[in-house]
Protein backbone atom coordinates (compact mmCIF):
# COMPACT_ATOMS: atom_id res chain seq x y z
CA UNK A 1 0.00 0.00 0.00
CA UNK A 2 1.37 3.39 -0.97
CA UNK A 3 1.48 6.52 1.14
CA UNK A 4 2.13 9.81 -0.62
CA UNK A 5 2.23 13.24 0.94
CA UNK A 6 2.18 16.74 -0.49
CA UNK A 7 3.27 18.32 2.77
CA UNK A 8 5.87 16.33 4.71
CA UNK A 9 4.55 17.16 8.18
CA UNK A 10 1.49 15.00 7.50
CA UNK A 11 3.48 11.82 6.82
CA UNK A 12 4.43 10.59 10.28
CA UNK A 13 0.97 11.11 11.86
CA UNK A 14 -0.67 9.52 8.79
CA UNK A 15 1.50 6.40 8.80
CA UNK A 16 0.92 5.92 12.52
CA UNK A 17 -2.86 6.39 12.18
CA UNK A 18 -3.13 3.93 9.28
CA UNK A 19 -1.30 1.30 11.34
CA UNK A 20 -3.20 1.89 14.56
CA UNK A 21 -6.68 2.10 13.04
CA UNK A 22 -6.01 -0.61 10.40
CA UNK A 23 -7.42 1.75 7.78
CA UNK A 24 -7.47 0.68 4.14
CA UNK A 25 -7.59 4.14 2.56
CA UNK A 26 -7.03 7.56 4.12
CA UNK A 27 -7.13 10.98 2.46
CA UNK A 28 -6.16 14.23 4.14
CA UNK A 29 -7.59 17.12 2.15
CA UNK A 30 -8.46 20.79 2.32
CA UNK A 31 -12.15 21.75 2.55
CA UNK A 32 -11.88 22.57 -1.17
CA UNK A 33 -10.97 18.96 -1.98
CA UNK A 34 -7.24 19.42 -2.56
CA UNK A 35 -5.32 16.35 -1.39
CA UNK A 36 -2.51 16.93 1.11
CA UNK A 37 -1.70 13.28 1.79
CA UNK A 38 -3.10 9.83 1.09
CA UNK A 39 -2.64 6.20 1.87
CA UNK A 40 -3.79 3.29 -0.25
CA UNK A 41 -4.63 4.83 -3.63
CA UNK A 42 -2.73 3.74 -6.72
CA UNK A 43 -4.15 6.22 -9.25
CA UNK A 44 -4.03 9.96 -8.56
CA UNK A 45 -7.05 10.83 -10.68
CA UNK A 46 -9.29 8.34 -8.80
CA UNK A 47 -8.07 9.86 -5.56
CA UNK A 48 -9.09 13.34 -6.76
CA UNK A 49 -12.64 12.15 -7.41
CA UNK A 50 -12.92 10.65 -3.95
CA UNK A 51 -11.48 13.81 -2.37
CA UNK A 52 -13.95 15.98 -4.30
CA UNK A 53 -16.88 13.90 -3.04
CA UNK A 54 -15.55 13.76 0.53
CA UNK A 55 -15.06 17.52 0.63
CA UNK A 56 -18.54 18.01 -0.85
CA UNK A 57 -20.17 15.82 1.81
CA UNK A 58 -18.33 17.71 4.54
CA UNK A 59 -19.23 21.09 3.04
CA UNK A 60 -22.91 20.25 2.64
CA UNK A 61 -23.02 18.81 6.17
CA UNK A 62 -21.51 22.06 7.47
CA UNK A 63 -24.05 24.12 5.54
CA UNK A 64 -26.88 21.97 6.96
CA UNK A 65 -25.51 22.44 10.48
CA UNK A 66 -25.49 26.17 9.93
CA UNK A 67 -29.10 26.14 8.74
CA UNK A 68 -30.34 24.34 11.84
CA UNK A 69 -28.23 26.44 14.20
CA UNK A 70 -25.44 23.97 14.98
CA UNK A 71 -21.79 25.02 14.89
CA UNK A 72 -20.85 21.69 13.31
CA UNK A 73 -22.03 18.09 13.11
CA UNK A 74 -18.48 16.77 13.60
CA UNK A 75 -17.65 13.35 12.17
CA UNK A 76 -19.80 11.40 9.73
CA UNK A 77 -19.88 7.62 9.54
CA UNK A 78 -21.38 5.36 6.89
CA UNK A 79 -21.42 1.58 7.20
CA UNK A 80 -21.46 -0.63 4.12
CA UNK A 81 -21.33 -4.40 3.72
CA UNK A 82 -17.58 -4.60 3.12
CA UNK A 83 -16.40 -1.07 3.90
CA UNK A 84 -17.18 1.75 6.27
CA UNK A 85 -16.21 5.37 5.86
CA UNK A 86 -15.40 7.92 8.53
CA UNK A 87 -15.27 11.56 7.48
CA UNK A 88 -14.22 14.22 9.94
CA UNK A 89 -12.91 17.77 10.15
CA UNK A 90 -9.60 18.60 11.74
CA UNK A 91 -8.25 22.01 12.76
CA UNK A 92 -4.55 22.79 12.31
CA UNK A 93 -2.37 25.92 12.26
CA UNK A 94 -2.36 25.49 8.44
CA UNK A 95 -6.12 25.88 8.36
CA UNK A 96 -9.07 23.47 8.50
CA UNK A 97 -8.62 20.02 6.97
CA UNK A 98 -10.90 17.10 6.22
CA UNK A 99 -9.91 13.46 6.71
CA UNK A 100 -11.64 10.57 4.95
CA UNK A 101 -10.93 7.08 6.29
CA UNK A 102 -12.10 3.91 4.54
CA UNK A 103 -11.90 0.77 6.63
CA UNK A 104 -12.92 -2.89 6.39
CA UNK A 105 -13.97 -5.70 8.73
CA UNK A 106 -10.47 -6.03 10.21
CA UNK A 107 -11.24 -3.00 12.39
CA UNK A 108 -14.29 -1.15 13.72
CA UNK A 109 -15.76 2.34 13.79
CA UNK A 110 -14.95 2.53 17.50
CA UNK A 111 -11.24 1.95 16.90
CA UNK A 112 -11.20 4.36 13.97
CA UNK A 113 -12.85 7.08 16.04
CA UNK A 114 -10.52 6.44 18.97
CA UNK A 115 -7.36 6.67 16.89
CA UNK A 116 -8.73 9.53 14.79
CA UNK A 117 -8.78 11.78 17.84
CA UNK A 118 -5.08 11.04 18.43
CA UNK A 119 -4.40 11.55 14.72
CA UNK A 120 -6.13 14.94 14.68
CA UNK A 121 -4.11 16.03 17.70
CA UNK A 122 -0.89 14.83 16.06
CA UNK A 123 -1.68 16.73 12.86
CA UNK A 124 -2.38 19.85 14.87
CA UNK A 125 0.93 19.51 16.70
CA UNK A 126 2.93 18.79 13.54
CA UNK A 127 1.47 21.49 11.29
CA UNK A 128 3.77 24.45 10.73
CA UNK A 129 2.38 27.95 10.33
CA UNK A 130 1.58 29.15 6.82
CA UNK A 131 4.64 30.22 4.83
CA UNK A 132 5.17 32.70 2.00
CA UNK A 133 5.86 31.07 -1.34
CA UNK A 134 8.09 32.21 -4.17
CA UNK A 135 7.51 31.69 -7.89
CA UNK A 136 6.84 28.03 -8.74
CA UNK A 137 6.75 27.99 -12.53
CA UNK A 138 9.18 29.50 -15.01
CA UNK A 139 7.98 32.70 -16.65
CA UNK A 140 7.84 31.00 -20.06
CA UNK A 141 5.55 28.17 -18.94
CA UNK A 142 2.86 29.00 -21.51
CA UNK A 143 4.58 27.28 -24.44
CA UNK A 144 4.73 24.04 -22.46
CA UNK A 145 1.12 24.46 -21.33
CA UNK A 146 0.04 24.99 -24.94
CA UNK A 147 1.76 21.83 -26.16
CA UNK A 148 0.52 19.79 -23.16
CA UNK A 149 -3.09 20.80 -23.81
CA UNK A 150 -2.73 20.27 -27.56
CA UNK A 151 -1.45 16.75 -26.91
CA UNK A 152 -4.30 16.16 -24.45
CA UNK A 153 -6.86 17.13 -27.11
CA UNK A 154 -5.02 15.27 -29.87
CA UNK A 155 -4.22 18.46 -31.84
Amino acid sequence: MTTTVVELWTEEPLVRYVGQASARLVVIMTPAGQVLAQHGFAKAVDLMGIAALGAAIMASSGALADLVGEATFGALFHAGVRHGIHLAPCRTPRGPLVVLTVFGRETSIGLVEFFFDEFAAALHAAAPAEQARGPVLAENFEAELGSSLAALFGR
Binding site: Q34, A44, V45, M48, G49, R133, V136, L137, E142, S148
Partner: protein, 202 residues
Amino acid sequence: MSLVNFTTREITCKIVYYGPGRSGKTTNLQYIYSQVPDDRKGRMVSLATQTDRTLFFDFLPLDLGSISGFTTKFQLYTVPGQVYYNATRKLVLQGADGVVFVADSQARQLDENIESLQNLHLNILEHGVDVRTLPMVLQWNKQDLPRDLILSPQELDDALNFRTLPAFPADALHGSGVFETLKAISAEVLRRLSQTSSGGRD
Protein backbone atom coordinates in the same frame (compact mmCIF):
# COMPACT_ATOMS: atom_id res chain seq x y z
CA MET B 1 -5.08 28.31 -3.82
CA SER B 2 -3.23 25.91 -6.10
CA LEU B 3 -1.62 23.06 -4.19
CA VAL B 4 2.10 22.65 -4.91
CA ASN B 5 4.06 19.55 -3.89
CA PHE B 6 7.73 20.42 -4.11
CA THR B 7 8.77 16.90 -3.11
CA THR B 8 7.03 15.09 -5.96
CA ARG B 9 6.92 18.28 -8.09
CA GLU B 10 3.18 18.28 -8.60
CA ILE B 11 0.68 21.12 -8.96
CA THR B 12 -3.07 20.70 -8.47
CA CYS B 13 -5.51 23.47 -9.45
CA LYS B 14 -9.27 23.77 -9.05
CA ILE B 15 -11.25 25.36 -11.89
CA VAL B 16 -14.99 25.97 -11.63
CA TYR B 17 -17.34 26.34 -14.60
CA TYR B 18 -20.06 28.79 -13.52
CA GLY B 19 -23.10 30.21 -15.30
CA PRO B 20 -26.88 30.13 -15.55
CA GLY B 21 -28.90 26.92 -15.89
CA ARG B 22 -28.60 25.18 -19.28
CA SER B 23 -25.79 27.44 -20.47
CA GLY B 24 -23.57 24.44 -21.25
CA LYS B 25 -21.25 24.00 -18.27
CA THR B 26 -21.72 20.23 -18.06
CA THR B 27 -21.48 20.03 -21.87
CA ASN B 28 -18.03 21.65 -21.68
CA LEU B 29 -16.85 18.95 -19.26
CA GLN B 30 -18.46 16.17 -21.27
CA TYR B 31 -16.69 17.34 -24.42
CA ILE B 32 -13.34 17.55 -22.61
CA TYR B 33 -13.95 14.07 -21.18
CA SER B 34 -14.68 12.70 -24.65
CA GLN B 35 -11.47 14.11 -26.10
CA VAL B 36 -8.90 13.26 -23.46
CA PRO B 37 -7.14 9.85 -23.48
CA ASP B 38 -8.07 7.48 -20.64
CA ASP B 39 -4.66 7.60 -19.01
CA ARG B 40 -4.88 11.40 -18.61
CA LYS B 41 -8.29 11.63 -16.96
CA GLY B 42 -10.18 10.18 -14.02
CA ARG B 43 -13.79 9.14 -13.82
CA MET B 44 -16.22 12.00 -14.43
CA VAL B 45 -18.46 12.33 -11.40
CA SER B 46 -21.89 13.89 -11.96
CA LEU B 47 -24.25 14.53 -9.09
CA ALA B 48 -27.38 15.17 -11.13
CA THR B 49 -31.14 14.92 -10.82
CA GLN B 50 -33.15 12.21 -12.62
CA THR B 51 -33.57 14.64 -15.51
CA ASP B 52 -29.79 15.13 -15.76
CA ARG B 53 -29.79 18.63 -14.34
CA THR B 54 -26.74 19.24 -12.18
CA LEU B 55 -27.77 18.92 -8.53
CA PHE B 56 -24.47 19.49 -6.76
CA PHE B 57 -21.59 19.41 -9.23
CA ASP B 58 -19.85 17.61 -12.06
CA PHE B 59 -16.21 16.79 -11.48
CA LEU B 60 -13.49 15.83 -13.94
CA PRO B 61 -9.85 15.34 -12.92
CA LEU B 62 -7.29 15.92 -15.70
CA ASP B 63 -3.57 15.25 -15.89
CA LEU B 64 -2.06 17.97 -18.07
CA GLY B 65 1.43 16.47 -18.01
CA SER B 66 4.67 18.24 -17.15
CA ILE B 67 4.88 22.04 -17.12
CA SER B 68 8.14 23.67 -16.00
CA GLY B 69 9.11 20.34 -14.47
CA PHE B 70 5.91 20.04 -12.43
CA THR B 71 3.31 17.35 -13.08
CA THR B 72 0.20 19.49 -13.40
CA LYS B 73 -3.27 18.26 -12.53
CA PHE B 74 -6.51 20.18 -12.93
CA GLN B 75 -9.78 19.51 -11.16
CA LEU B 76 -12.66 20.77 -13.27
CA TYR B 77 -15.98 21.38 -11.51
CA THR B 78 -19.33 22.71 -12.65
CA VAL B 79 -21.96 24.26 -10.41
CA PRO B 80 -25.74 23.83 -10.63
CA GLY B 81 -26.96 26.83 -12.60
CA GLN B 82 -30.53 27.04 -11.41
CA VAL B 83 -31.20 30.01 -9.14
CA TYR B 84 -32.45 27.99 -6.15
CA TYR B 85 -29.23 25.96 -5.86
CA ASN B 86 -27.14 28.86 -4.60
CA ALA B 87 -26.07 27.13 -1.38
CA THR B 88 -24.43 24.29 -3.29
CA ARG B 89 -22.98 26.69 -5.88
CA LYS B 90 -21.26 28.54 -3.10
CA LEU B 91 -19.83 25.34 -1.63
CA VAL B 92 -18.37 24.24 -4.96
CA LEU B 93 -16.81 27.66 -5.49
CA GLN B 94 -14.84 27.34 -2.26
CA GLY B 95 -11.09 27.24 -2.92
CA ALA B 96 -11.40 27.78 -6.67
CA ASP B 97 -8.17 28.83 -8.38
CA GLY B 98 -10.00 30.02 -11.47
CA VAL B 99 -13.48 30.42 -12.91
CA VAL B 100 -14.91 29.94 -16.39
CA PHE B 101 -18.18 31.83 -16.74
CA VAL B 102 -20.27 30.06 -19.38
CA ALA B 103 -22.90 32.42 -20.76
CA ASP B 104 -25.86 31.36 -22.88
CA SER B 105 -25.69 33.45 -26.07
CA GLN B 106 -29.45 33.39 -26.65
CA ALA B 107 -30.83 36.94 -26.51
CA ARG B 108 -33.70 35.85 -24.26
CA GLN B 109 -31.19 34.51 -21.71
CA LEU B 110 -29.38 37.81 -21.20
CA ASP B 111 -31.06 38.58 -17.87
CA GLU B 112 -30.19 35.09 -16.57
CA ASN B 113 -26.56 35.64 -17.60
CA ILE B 114 -26.41 38.96 -15.78
CA GLU B 115 -28.06 37.52 -12.68
CA SER B 116 -25.67 34.57 -12.64
CA LEU B 117 -22.61 36.80 -13.07
CA GLN B 118 -23.77 39.01 -10.20
CA ASN B 119 -24.37 35.90 -8.12
CA LEU B 120 -20.84 34.70 -8.91
CA HIS B 121 -19.35 37.98 -7.72
CA LEU B 122 -21.41 37.88 -4.54
CA ASN B 123 -20.42 34.29 -3.75
CA ILE B 124 -16.74 35.02 -4.39
CA LEU B 125 -16.98 38.01 -2.08
CA GLU B 126 -18.65 35.89 0.61
CA HIS B 127 -15.65 33.54 0.46
CA GLY B 128 -13.48 36.55 1.29
CA VAL B 129 -11.85 36.68 -2.14
CA ASP B 130 -11.36 39.86 -4.15
CA VAL B 131 -12.95 39.04 -7.51
CA ARG B 132 -10.33 41.17 -9.27
CA THR B 133 -7.60 38.78 -8.11
CA LEU B 134 -9.34 35.55 -9.15
CA PRO B 135 -8.36 34.31 -12.63
CA MET B 136 -11.46 34.24 -14.81
CA VAL B 137 -12.40 33.82 -18.47
CA LEU B 138 -15.77 34.09 -20.21
CA GLN B 139 -17.30 31.77 -22.79
CA TRP B 140 -20.13 32.83 -25.11
CA ASN B 141 -21.71 29.42 -25.66
CA LYS B 142 -24.34 28.35 -28.22
CA GLN B 143 -22.92 30.60 -30.94
CA ASP B 144 -23.99 27.88 -33.41
CA LEU B 145 -27.67 28.78 -32.95
CA PRO B 146 -29.43 30.88 -35.65
CA ARG B 147 -28.19 34.48 -35.75
CA ASP B 148 -31.63 35.94 -35.02
CA LEU B 149 -31.81 34.08 -31.69
CA ILE B 150 -28.43 34.96 -30.26
CA LEU B 151 -26.31 37.94 -29.32
CA SER B 152 -22.99 38.36 -31.09
CA PRO B 153 -19.72 38.05 -29.13
CA GLN B 154 -19.41 41.85 -29.35
CA GLU B 155 -22.91 42.38 -27.91
CA LEU B 156 -22.19 39.90 -25.10
CA ASP B 157 -18.88 41.61 -24.43
CA ASP B 158 -20.69 44.94 -24.09
CA ALA B 159 -23.31 43.49 -21.76
CA LEU B 160 -21.22 41.21 -19.54
CA ASN B 161 -17.51 41.75 -19.95
CA PHE B 162 -17.02 45.02 -18.12
CA ARG B 163 -13.64 43.83 -16.80
CA THR B 164 -12.38 43.06 -20.34
CA LEU B 165 -11.58 39.48 -19.42
CA PRO B 166 -10.52 36.96 -22.08
CA ALA B 167 -13.72 35.79 -23.83
CA PHE B 168 -14.32 32.98 -26.32
CA PRO B 169 -17.26 32.21 -28.61
CA ALA B 170 -18.16 28.53 -28.36
CA ASP B 171 -20.38 25.68 -29.42
CA ALA B 172 -19.65 23.32 -26.55
CA LEU B 173 -21.92 20.60 -27.91
CA HIS B 174 -19.60 20.16 -30.90
CA GLY B 175 -16.44 21.29 -29.13
CA SER B 176 -15.82 24.63 -30.81
CA GLY B 177 -14.20 27.03 -28.32
CA VAL B 178 -13.96 24.47 -25.49
CA PHE B 179 -10.25 23.85 -25.92
CA GLU B 180 -9.49 27.58 -26.27
CA THR B 181 -11.43 28.35 -23.09
CA LEU B 182 -9.66 25.65 -21.08
CA LYS B 183 -6.30 26.77 -22.41
CA ALA B 184 -6.97 30.39 -21.45
CA ILE B 185 -8.11 29.67 -17.90
CA SER B 186 -5.21 27.23 -17.42
CA ALA B 187 -2.76 29.93 -18.46
CA GLU B 188 -4.43 32.52 -16.19
CA VAL B 189 -4.30 30.18 -13.20
CA LEU B 190 -0.75 28.97 -13.77
CA ARG B 191 0.49 32.50 -14.42
CA ARG B 192 -0.09 33.22 -10.75
CA LEU B 193 2.34 30.41 -9.94
CA SER B 194 5.03 32.06 -12.06
CA GLN B 195 4.75 35.15 -9.90
CA THR B 196 5.73 35.61 -6.28
CA SER B 197 2.76 34.95 -4.03
CA SER B 198 1.86 34.05 -0.50
CA GLY B 199 1.43 30.40 0.33
CA GLY B 200 -2.13 30.72 1.61
CA ARG B 201 -4.49 27.85 1.18
CA ASP B 202 -8.21 27.44 1.43
